[in-house]
């Protein structure tokens, strides 16, 4: 290890004095890394236990991670131009981008396709082929 790296203490040491089980014992090298459950799966698992069918007395959790999520907005959707950020009353059916005026339209029509997809991806509207 280069001296300056050692000096800066960049690297996390593998053996920690205060730990009862060290990392290399828990996750031995060479073994496949543990697949952790993603949030979606965690939520699903939680919900399953939230509603046990047998016990009539148990209380449901009045609130859970999913419950407190906010609903879709009820305000009228603000439409802004994808390129400039101005207000965009117009919509280009070919590229599906919103634009504010004719100059922006010219720019939109001259964009290569991957730029169009990236602009759409900003709005989560890109065509995703799975």
């Amino acid at each position: 290890m280069e001296p300056e790296v050692v000096e800066a203490e960049l690297v996390l040491p593998t053996h920690m004095k205060f730990k009862k089980i060290q990392m290399y014992e828990k996750y031995p090298k060479g073994q496949a890394r543990v697949r952790w459950k993603h949030l979606k799966q965690i939520i699903q698992a939680e919900n399953y236990q939230n509603y046990p069918p047998n016990e009539p007395n148990c209380e449901y959790m009045l609130y859970s991670y999913v419950n407190i999520e906010s609903p879709p907005s009820t305000h009228p959707c603000k439409r802004i131009c994808d390129i400039t950020g101005y207000e965009a009353p117009y919509f280009d059916p070919r590229t599906k981008l919103r634009y504010a005026n004719a100059e922006v339209f010219k720019v939109i029509r001259s964009l290569p396709n991957d730029y169009v997809q990236r602009y759409l991806a900003l709005r989560n509207a890109a065509v995703v082929l799975r």
Partner: protein, 721 residues
Amino acid sequence: MPFISKIQRQSDYSSFSSNHPIVIDNGGSYFRIGWAGESDPRVIFRNIIQRPRHKITGETITVVGDHNPALLKYFDCTRSGPRSAFDGNVVYQFEIMEYILDFGFDRLGANQSQINHPVLITECACNPVQSRSKIAELLFESYGVPSVAFGVDAAFSYKYNQQFGICSKDGLAICSGFNTSHVIPFLNGEPVYEACCRTNVGGYHVTDYLKQLLSLKYPHHMSKLTWEKVEDLKMEHCYIAPDYASEVRLFQKGDKKAEEKTRCWQLPWTPTPVEEAPSEEEIARKAALKEKQGQRLREMAEAKRFNRINDLENEIRDLDMLLQRLRHVAENDIPSILGKTVYTSKQDVESALVKATQSLRKAKGEPVESVEKMDPSSTEKYNLINVPDEMLTPDQLKQKRKQLFIKSTSEARQQKKQKQVEEELERERQKKLEEERRLENPELYLEELRAKHRDLSEKVEQRKKLKTNGGHSNGNHNGSGGGVGRGERLNSSQRERMRLLTTAAFDRGKGEDTFGTKDEDWQLYKLMSRDNDDDDYDKPDPDEAELARISSRLQEIDPTFIFKSEAGSSSAAEAPRFRPLTKEDFQIILGVERFRCPEILFNPNLIGIEQAGLDEMAGISIRRLEASKGVKERITNSILLTGGSCLFPGMSERLETGIRMIRPCGTPIKIVKASDPILDAWRGASAYAAAMQFPHQTFSRMDYYEKGEDWLRSYQLRYTI
């Protein structure tokens, strides 16, 4: 102002007694750890790890937090981007969490065989029990922590500010974090989780949005737009507009205020050294060199011509001699003599001689004799034509056919030449007429010419546009046209093609398909092929030629006419003009982006997240609250803004207008920012952990294993102690 990580190893770990709690604020952006009762965390670092591989030794090491990028050059970081333990605001990667905790405890100075202090760690609101239990397990098993308590960071922040009287015991906490934003109402000092509201938009999304916008606008500067740099830009320059629509209108109109609000980031740039104009002697030297080269070439050409003339003369002399010999010798000996040479008959020799003399004359620069000499030989050649067929042998018939062919072609050639001559004369006459017309009325003539030019150029452009539009939709498969049939008007050839395609593809079903038995069927594909659109290219040529002619005339006579090149005068897809890069090319301009990016906190629809924005969330939260009316009215009187992403200038005003729109008229609305939105959560937790009753709120290892997960699910901290 970028946050500074503090990762100095602390040395006073042993000076704390074993029931002194350690307080950890496990946030999406930063991890803060310190001792209870203190006012600042001891160790702060970014809550990410990297696992690069050392370039030389090949071992994989772990780097926690953000580090000096210069040191990372010894490591191969291509496959190891920064990774976080969070998905949203919930911890799910416990291995990464363990590395981070390792690092945190290590820098806190832990040196005994286990962590012997109770730990208070923050989590998100309504943390799923699985995440909670795994963290508890981690702390108990791997670190030997005696007891653990979980709390919500927003609540700690609120309590802390409540102590200072900034907010009262009934209020609303609006916490805008890194990945998510929460609105939590408080009643009697306790958070009401049932009425809590969370949107999955946070500082990370704002930075990401800004980064993407800038990368799309300045693709050649993408390497400079790293995530950290963009975050700095965001912190320094972004603000929240009190009303997005009116602010954007300022920019759209090009108002002066908009100019002031535009910020410009000048990237380091070195101007290309300008070449000075070559000095006088340089020019003279270059001219002399060119002269010399020209002279040399001319000499070479002369020498070549001379050689060729000599050769030709020799050839002519030889041929002459041969001819003379032939004349003196009898008929029978001719083949034997000619056999030695390449010529087959006397006529051949004569024609070769004629050709050679002609070339000689050309080489010498004398005018060539006209082609009428052909005629005397032509009567001899065509001798067989007039003889009727029956009298000829098969050989002679063949000869006759050949002669007919030759005669017709030469006649056709002559006719063409005559026509050309006539056309020339005609053109001359036209030109003279035009000149006369021009001389008598120059203005009118000019006008007419210009009008014609305009019309023609429009026509040509239109046709070009139609072609490119048709070409685009033909070549662009990506849903933009969906096929040739949509949108563009098809010209007849395209219609024909479509018809062929549909009939060919139509599955006839019953009856045998006899396509392909005859060879001509395959010609169909040629018709279908798109390359046949090239036929269209022939048609505009006369128009274009006319246009070119008119433009050149105009150029000659009209001083004000600017020759517009046909290629791309109005089409948007011009090839980039190559001009030297100027200072402006290296500037990144933040105009609308300054307030467009934080706008997503109030309007997550802008990035496609279908959830309510911050102001609406407050309304939803109050609506969900089950409390008396009086409380609901009072609740907006103390609204606390906390969390890193609430530091945007203009946020309080915007929130106030937003909430005022939702609540009934006249309700008191008071919005305060936390005293330190970033560190307040930790400070609140620290103050909480230092209180006397804190140990009652923790749970120990025994509790956890005895009571199990269900109990953990319902475990909630009581914040007022």
